[in-house]
Symmetry: C4
Subunit: 219 residues, 4 copies
């Protein structure tokens, strides 16, 4: 045990730690979502709990949507970091920016849950939520473009065509979320429908690149 | 260190990552439960703290019950994922659905703790809590049935009889929790007693299948 | 990768998973403590923030004390689980009970922070906090006694004298915390002083048993 | 699997566990920050949600600043613990003190976010926040000085000049944060500008020491 210290000079390049830290943030953000669903309270007055619990349905809706989104990003994060051969300082910072956007998501989720039924604020709430979904899509795409440009950090054996497909997919996501933000502002129900639709789309299984097998390595 | 990148083409099948992520959600959900036990506050007025702390006993009761339930699911999750030879996209999604139900549990727990002594809402609170316990049981069983049907993902060496026992156990759980939801609505004390009883039942040690030992593998 | 599934029949005995899960609960409980320090708010009225932040000193005090306690238990947990050769179902349940007590600690911490300066409730708050410290000490000792009795789960190479020293230490802890609960009820300042004193005592380095070295094993 | 228990007598010296626990605290603290951004609520009255969300900009500002700070400390923690050959009891305690300061950060962040626009309290809020940034810098430097003095715990192959550069860097940080606290008290905008400036400075990539490569070791 005493002899296995990694070499200080050459180890910052692996992606394991960044992945473990990111996993932690994903797991915490996804579990914190429930804290924004508040127990109905009405100090001094009697309430009809059943009715109150039913009227919380926008909170349940927002919770499920955000839960699935974070879950999808978690799976994608693993998928993409496996395509990276190494990491560097800039990628770490871009990943931190992405995690900031993920950890921010519980807030627009709570806003949507609180104001989706409030006639005078539901447009704002839906637009803010769509914006909250745009942020991780944007930072994710930035991170990918950085890692991918000049084949800087991605596995050299990957085919250019495969990288182009992923790039196109992520850029289109950003465009569609931008549209969803705009649509939410004009017609909030349609905007939310866009968000739900995109999420359902992302639930389809990812495409795995067929690679010439590398020499099998032991962990 | 630089040479141990796993092969992008062949690694999504292992269950380690899904297990690690699930463990994170279990640990966070189980620890968040305490946040729903609120410090008694009464701005402007004096309170009898001792009495207030005693009157929180429904919150303590709900906390302990949910803590034990999540702990049991955590242990079961490990137990069952060890029976899986691999994972696939659908299992990952079903597991995400299950984790959503686990992370939801602090909410009905808080509702039960807040309204168990409120005469006009205690039935609703108990029924909602029983429903909150039904959800993970249901998604758990769905996940198991998917993995088990056609022996899709489970270890091929497991005896059919052993799989049938587990299947029966999980399906019966769903039925019993459904009954507990109904009973809670009719007689909330009996419904809660069902929930406590089921939990105590689950505390008994799990049955371990005797398998022909596989060739010992080094991690 | 596809071939390293552990054998379902023989792996539940290791302590790694229980330790990892416990570590998660420790890390979360210790970090959640800050959530109970509430930002001073006074809707509609102006406040003197500097004065309010200073008057929160009982919250800071309780935070630091509980943080150190959880940190000590974390270190002790590692220390003791390294003495265990394996785990079993009962130990897992006792560990779960211990984790319940750890995850409960933020609540008495918040109560103490909120009511330590409230003349009519400070005795209750201090006693409740001392009781909150007694609970993990008690469940910890139960866990140890179970693992140790009949040398059930501890490393067989450990000297009986060493085990007796640890047993005595843990039993004495329970006794002293019980006394602290009583003293807090009679004279809350003295009771809190007991709690602080015990914590400082636990900060001394643990004693490491000298063992005949086992054959070095590779992870 | 059954044979890989580490040797109780010789394993407390590795840094893996301390790092894993610290990573957990970092990930939780960084994700909890969002919980301090409260959904605008105004019971009984109608609110202009868009305006309210805009007026939360001090909360967003404080969130981003603290997120980046914790992210930087996380990266630095890995960087520096890789320079350590082993850990000991005192280093563990100093690390615990450092983690206490990190886990405290969400509180001054929330205070700054709540009172940055409140004319009569913004000076207090900014000073408290700068103080909240000074605390981890101080405990970090204490930890480093302990590990470094007499080359107690650092890798023996590191050049003295490299250690001096890091020591100087950390001591200067403490001095600059102390100045930032003072400046915040006199001119809060300038104080916050100091905090932002320091953060941006820390975003530059760290310097990696060139070491004679150690014999490559397998994990």
């Amino acid at each position: 045990m005493g002899n296995h210290r990694p070499d200080p000079a050459g180890t910052e390049r692996g992606t394991e730690r960044v992945e473990a830290f990111s996993d932690g943030v994903f797991a915490i953000a996804i579990t914190l979502l429930i804290l924004e669903v508040k127990v109905p309270r009405s100090p001094g007055a009697t309430i009809d709990l059943l009715k109150e619990l039913q009227q919380l349905w926008p909170s349940y809706f927002a919770l499920v949507l955000s839960f699935v989104m974070i879950g999808i990003y978690w799976a994608n994060h693993h998928y993409v970091f496996k395509l990276f051969e190494k990491t560097d300082h800039s990628l770490n910072l871009l990943n931190l920016l992405f995690l900031l956007c993920i950890s921010f998501l519980p807030f627009p989720t709570a806003v949507l849950g609180s104001y989706m039924l409030d006639g005078s604020n539901q447009t704002t709430a839906a637009t803010f939520y769509a914006f909250g979904l745009l942020l991780p899509a944007l930072s994710w795409t930035l991170m990918w473009l950085y890692a991918c440009s000049g084949r800087r950090l991605v596995d050299r054996r990957l085919e250019p065509r495969f990288l182009w497909i992923l790039t196109a997919k992520y850029v289109v996501s950003v465009v569609v979320y931008s549209i969803a933000v705009y649509v939410s502002w004009v017609a909030f129900k349609l905007g939310l429908a866009c968000c739900v639709g995109l999420t359902l789309l992302y639930l389809t299984p990812p495409y795995f690149p067929a690679l010439p097998a590398r020499r099998s390595v032991r962990r």
